[in-house]
Amino acid sequence: MATLNSSEYKKLVLQPWAADSTKMAVLEKVVSQLSLNPQSEEYLTLDLPGLFALPPGGLTKAQLEGHSNALRSALNKSNRLKSASALGKLLDFLRNRELFTDPDFWADFQSRRAADQQRRLMSAVSDLESETPLRTLSRGQALRRLAALGLDGLDPSLLSQHGFAVFDDLRPPVEGELSRLRSTWGPVRDKHGSDYPTVFHLMVLGRQNPPVKARCVDELSVGGKPVTSTDIEQSHAQALRTRDSNAVQDAAKFLAELKRVRDPETLRRVAFATVWERAKQQLSQGIPSVRVAKGLCSSGLDELDAVRIVAAVAEAGNGPGNSGVGVEAVREALAQGKNERARRTLEALKEDPQTVEERRELATRIEERARDKARALSDYESAMTREDYAQARSRLQDALQIDADDSAVEELLVSLPLPAPRPTLRPTESGVLVEWNGVGEGAHYDVYRSVNGVASTQARLAESLAELAFTDAEAPVGEQLRYAVVAARPGGISSAEGHADIVHLPVPKAVSAKARASDILVSWVVPPQTNGVKVRTLTLDAPPETTHVQDSTTFHMSGADIGRMYRFEVSAVYLTSGGPQESPAVTATATPRGEVRPVTDLTVTAAGSGPGLEARWSQSRGAVTELWAMPISAGQPPAVGTVLTSSEASASGLFPLRSTILAPGDHHMTARLHTLEGPHVVVPLTCGESGFLVGVATVAGNAPPVAHAAAERFGDRVRLTWTWPGGNYDALVRWRSGAAEEQVRVTKSSYGQHGAVYLPNAAEVSQIGVITMARTNSAPWVSQRVDVPFASYTGPVITYTSRIAKSLLGRARVELTVTGAHGTGSHDVGVYFASGTTMPARANQARHISTLTVDCSRGASQHHTVDLGRVRGPFWIRLFCDDGRVTVRDPKTSSLKG
């Protein structure tokens, strides 16, 4: 029998056991159990022959004794290892119970161990059932759980005999796979979950049927049929055909981006990532894993995929209250392209039996990326030696994608030559404007110019510009110019030059067209290098005419029509190496106005109907007149015949009135103006060559109107009342009396004397209006009119004359001549008597003394005499209609008084 080799023993048993925390936990638990209960057979959970490196085949007691001593020696040599310490205790326990040296103990150890394992397995199954309701475990999970339950080394697939599904380990998705689609996936996921519960619903939109048995763990398929980029294209086309809605729009955007993913494995990882994300979110909300898995199935996911993913998410520490910070941080760093940070974070993680596999996998990934970065940097070096800067940039960017925090790589990138800028050129009045696109952060630009393609003429016009434009004010005229722009960062290599060409043809400056009478003078300024100027004349009803003007800076046109607009397009002609060329044209317009005369007949009145004012005047043909105004209190307007610019007009206190021309004519103009508050001087200003020509002003403006205007019959008159506005105003009352227009001016004081205004011949009165007038020292006035409703009565009318006679004996009688008209039938009218100096206004203010029946149908007159008896004056006799349906018109008041 070979002697135990302690070095080999240390290498093969002690060290691996010491490094494996799961195994150590089991070993220590056994030792602990045995120390508590020496009769326990807890050691059956361990592979003792393997742990103690027993040679195969039966050993005698002596051989076992010898082996035991060799073990003790080996364990002592490695007593720093915790495994050696634990195994030493175990060895002591077995020796003390005289088991280690008993050949019978070892003979049936394995069979007893198998029986014990079976028993433990059943117990483990029972424990696992309650801990893993999905009855689904990855291989790694199963191994760890079994080891923790004292079944280290047991094949996890045994669990499948007890209703558990054991599958290959699932790695969580890498963040980067979904990130570039996140901006289009996010709206679909967050807003349209009811339309598209899973990404599969979008991926197979083109198949017209909702997805069933969708798989994304080992393959990407729906209903057993693979999902490929063709499906994505068809789904996108289907989205475009579907009736428009916000959900369809967002779905189409996502599918348009997904179409760019051509690699089938990447498509699978995208789908996997979305399902992982959903499971993670729901588990973190505390939803039981069984329910999460069921939810995924009912959304169309294959059942096995659903349980595998949910189990893996839960195991990855994404269950409720478990943030899984350690390895997650490493993954996040990797996803962010920070390989070094990922490495450092991984190294800083504590040993955690739960994440051993994961950490190993991450470490492998980190190493792979580090190698990729090294390769990228090596390629960069090669590219630099070849001066292939595009390739060098590309490889540095690849390296930065792996390690975004590597400032050294960043510096290398910054020092590379930038891409050539692309300049554009534009002629302006100040020169040639050179503009270009920005090519990188921190870049500065130099601008060069050469003439006619001759390299020796190249001059640097500007250097180290930070802005993206430059104006060459001294650009040679009429020459073919090339502008080149070069970019560089401080300390970096300059870019190749970007260039653009232009033939510099400056446009004419100070182009103007002035009309005087029927002549128009066009003038301009051009550089001395021009070969004249072309003037193109455009106007209505005439074909354009072009004139080439040389050796002059003006063009004269005579015989222009007054009032017609003429447009002149002026372009400079240059003789270049390519022949004569014209600059872009500059336009000026002119409209001859003829002799301009001031307006002398402006009137401004209240508008015929509605608010506002109406202005009328006459002007010469082709003239344009504006109406300006100033408050009366602002002073005197400019004198007639003065010529003003608009700023001088404003400075004098005038402001322009907004007007609408109602009836444009050649000479007579009518315009509507807005209401002016308060009296104003309105001044007509006629446009002339050198400014506005001041015409004869008029006063206008709406004084505040009277309020509460009312009219009523009062005897044979109309009694008109109103409330005056504040301020110093008179009123003008206008009305129609029959066919005639009447008016009367009323001052506040005269109104105040009677408290009203009385209009005669009430029967004939209509269309009463009251206009408030501003008091002015000169000039006519105008103001707003208030119409006062008053309708002439059109029913039956009784008129009468009255003559009161008295006898010498003091007896009085009244002789009445009564006439009825404008009606049908007869009406009773009462004769009333009142004593005193006040005429009765109503029947109830007098005494009824007689009733007359008057026929109103024929207009015939009747005579009546009423004896009044002996009465003392003064007294009144008046007629009132008893039934109120007839208008009784009284004669002169004096005839009613006795």
Binding site: S183, T184, L240, R243, V248, N437, G442, M565, T660
Partner: protein, 528 residues
Amino acid sequence: MSNTVYGIDLGTTYSAIARINEQEMAEVIKNFEGQDTTPSALFFESEDNVVIGAEAKRGALADPDNSCLLIKREMGTDYAVQYQGKDYTPESLSALILRAMVDAANEATGEDVDQVVITVPAYFGTQEREATRQAGQIAQLNVVGIVTEPVAAALSIGIRSEGAQTIMVYDLGGGTFDTTVMKVDSGKVEVVGIDGSRTLGGADWDEAMVQLLLERFKAEAGANAEGCEADDEFLLDLQLKAEETKKSLTRKHDVKVSLRWESAKVSLTITRADFEAATAHLVNQTLEIAERTVKNAQQKEPGLTIDRVLLVGGSSRMPMISEALRNTLNWEPENTDFDLAVAKGAAIYGQAHIEEILSSDGEELPETTGNESKFFLGGARSLSVKNVLARGLGVQFVREASGDPYVHFFAHANGTIPCEPAPIDAQTVADQQTHVELSLYEQAGDQESENVTDNRELKSVDLPFAKPMPKESPVRILITITTEGLVRLKAEDPESGNSVELEATVSQLDEQQVQEAASQVSSLSLRS
């Protein structure tokens, strides 16, 4: 009648208004704040007061419940919303924006114009265009025309007599993305192909910037940032800074952003490269759509090549757009007025319309002695615009074998209009059939689909037969499509001579609802 018409670019995020001025040039009219564009934002201060424009946008960030943004995305749908206790539709909300724009323009010009041309994206279907027209009616405007945004943009660059060219308009606005291929010549615009996305625009770039800032903030602030996403005020600050940062990166390579939440105070540097990486997928989507547009145009006109590429829409200013077009598609895009081109083009279109020198069916107008060359038309005497159908149109049939319904398309997206597709000879499907139901559908997805549920029913009508007809009796369907995409169908029973006509002017609101909305809008006090 006034001889002025306003062109209005009613945008998803910004609107603009323009006219042809006395110099016969298209000019944008500034708003009360002196800006060329007005945010398409509404803020309901109270039941009767509405604020529109920049102030509304500021109010929207602080009080989103009483604010309305991006309403253009809901045009043509039955989207209903309440503000301050009152109901509003997309049409009436857009009407408020239109009214405010026109009032401000009238105030600025001193005129009293009510004639307008309003632009719509090229991919707007029948319902969306009708909704836009109704918005104008509700605003009590006289809508003299609806023109597509790419056509308007092409008009605004002043196509001069340089010979025929094929141009691609790449219009990336605040909320939507349009691509159009058209052939242009002096006074002529012919659309060949259109495409786009109604949910892709500057707002998506803003959202990407918000996410980028949030991610960086959380990474820097660590645990101190926990819960910040639930804080409305923090998110509001984030949104404002995101938009500013996005705009700054148009001019600069990097921008410093300071963010603060509770005890966490972080200063971030966002580079243009960071932003481009975070939005690469958005740029990719626009490139895919642009390529698709050209491909479809080439299928229609083999050999077609793009001579010019115009960038339109404020979001096209981002350098990443022109870089991507250059590097990926080898195109050299040209800048335009970006966010003003469409309004100017609409003014040009409108002016041509009211001067009666516009032909919208592609036919040239006869030369008359009264027609002079127009500066705003680049020297041409008239304007001819030929359009294409935005969405396919079809009729529902039933499969003989299975009895399953399906939609048969008689006109396809990008087909030239006006047109008269070939008549459809259909048959009855059962014995003793007493009538046939004619259902007109419009394509509702980005591409055609035969499934009935993938399409939108525009209108249905019954054609009764004089007597019950046997199976397989013929029914002839005649179709006409007008210049504005209006469809007229006539179905005839040859035996009896009976016929029924169907005109698809489709809208969400009927006449009475439009009038009620007009009354509601006119009662509101607008401030901008």
